[in-house]
């Protein structure tokens, strides 16, 4: 195959996968938006369900993991919250808002787990 043809094939392949990725992000974003909406009205279980769904649709969506971490934290599931925050930071290590949420979470988590016996 000539180099020009190879480039063309690669370009077409990239174009064909891009919409799929964009679709996943769009669907995940819709779930995240809905989750935020219901969380603001105090419906945290529904919000968690939506954010879990968002992370399944798009496992690279840092914001969805961040929101999920907050949801788990609010429900008192600190182990799951830690995992979700850490995943969010892994995906977007420079996001200051995620980092701030994680630091605040850690403060509570460390305080409650500092047992002597």
């Amino acid at each position: 195959m000539k180099p020009a043809a190879a480039i063309l094939v690669a370009f077409v392949a990239a174009l064909s996968t891009a919409p799929a990725y964009a679709d996943a992000r769009r669907d995940a974003k819709a779930q995240v938006d809905f989750g935020i909406n219901v969380a603001q009205r105090g419906l945290w279980r529904e919000a968690i369900y939506r954010w879990e769904k968002a992370t399944q649709i798009d496992p690279t969506y840092a914001a969805a993991f961040n929101d999920l971490g907050i949801g788990y934290e609010h429900e008192g599931d600190l182990t799951k919250a830690r995992k979700a925050y850490e995943k969010a930071l892994e995906l977007d290590p420079n996001n200051q808002q995620i980092r701030q949420n994680y630091e605040l979470f850690k403060e509570i988590n460390d305080r409650t787990s500092s047992k002597e016996k």
Binding site: V32, D33, N66, H74, I98, Q100, N101, R111, S114, E116
Partner: protein, 296 residues
């Protein structure tokens, strides 16, 4: 009949431009509203499960504390009062109103009694300040006890350490438990000691610059500071068996400007205020309020 088209006046042109500008601004605003912000601050309440299973208990006895340090505060009395009042409002357990146990004296009596039983002639007194006796392990005392040196005046952690054997005396605590119908017993040690530290501290200073503007800048200044350190250790004992269920230690300190005259009691409460939520979280579920940022 036709004539030349009238020229658009400059006022008309300006109106037209203004209309375009308004339309553009409106369009941008609508777009911004449609997109919305990318983050939302949301208040959350994190429920914290209690560290202890207190379901077998209906009552709690804050028995007393072995205390030392500053003489300005009776840390035993104040700690018992504070914890009882907190437990009354923030716990499901019924708080037993009983006389505060003088645990320091009890520990000393137990030591003397043990010494009298084991080695009647070995009650060594050093200038009336310490009670030192050799003991052998019994049901009431742990096997590791070799030499007990109970200082009559507790000034530091070293003085406090030998007293902690009292919490391992299951027979004693079981007896106390039976007396109060098997409650959860809260006891421990409290050390409240004065502290002073000198060194450079950074603080903000407000100055007027050459242009007459008010400017805040950080300055390092040598300061002599005085304050207190509070080190409580809470011991939770099962009143049915006399055994220790759980214990936790804390350390908080506060420093003031040396010129500031803060009463010891107010410092004690300020420091206890930081520790009490942790104490309560051992017994009852707590909700910690905070704010987080939801992202889109």
């Amino acid at each position: 009949m036709t004539g030349p088209a009238p020229k658009r006046s400059s006022a008309g042109l300006q109106t037209c431009r203004r209309a375009v500008l308004v339309a553009f601004t409106a369009a941008v605003s609508v777009l911004a509203l449609a997109c919305g912000p990318d983050y939302y601050e949301i208040p959350i309440e994190t429920p914290i499960q209690p560290k202890l299973d207190v379901s077998p208990f209906q009552r709690v006895l804050v028995a007393g504390f072995i205390s030392g340090g500053s003489e300005d505060v009776d840390a035993n009395q104040e700690t018992v009062r504070l914890l009882r009042s907190q437990l009354r409002t923030k716990s499901q357990l019924k708080v037993i109103d009983a006389d505060i146990l003088p645990l320091m004296e009890i520990a000393q009596d137990q030591t003397k009694a043990a010494g009298a039983v084991d080695e009647p002639s070995s009650g060594a007194h050093e200038g009336g300040q310490q009670t030192t006796v050799q003991t052998t392990p019994t049901a009431d005392r742990p096997a590791q006890d070799k030499t007990m040196a109970l200082s009559n005046k507790i000034k530091n952690e070293k003085d406090l350490e030998p007293y902690e054997r009292l919490f391992a005396n299951t027979a004693y605590w079981k007896r106390i438990g039976e007396e109060y119908q098997n409650p959860l017993i809260v006891t421990g040690t409290v050390l409240f000691v004065p502290d002073s530290k000198s060194g450079y501290v950074q603080r903000d200073e407000e100055i007027i610059d050459s242009f007459g503007r008010r400017v805040v800048r950080p300055v390092r200044q040598y300061m002599e500071r005085k304050g207190f350190i509070l080190r409580p250790k809470f011991v939770f004992i099962d009143g049915r068996t006399g055994a220790t269920m759980y214990s936790e230690s804390h350390r908080e300190e506060i420093l003031y400007n040396a010129q500031q005259n803060t009463p010891a009691l107010s410092s004690y409460f300020e420091l206890m205020d930081r520790i009490v939520p942790n104490f309560l979280s051992a017994l009852s579920s707590q909700k910690i309020k905070g704010t987080r940022v939801l992202l889109k």
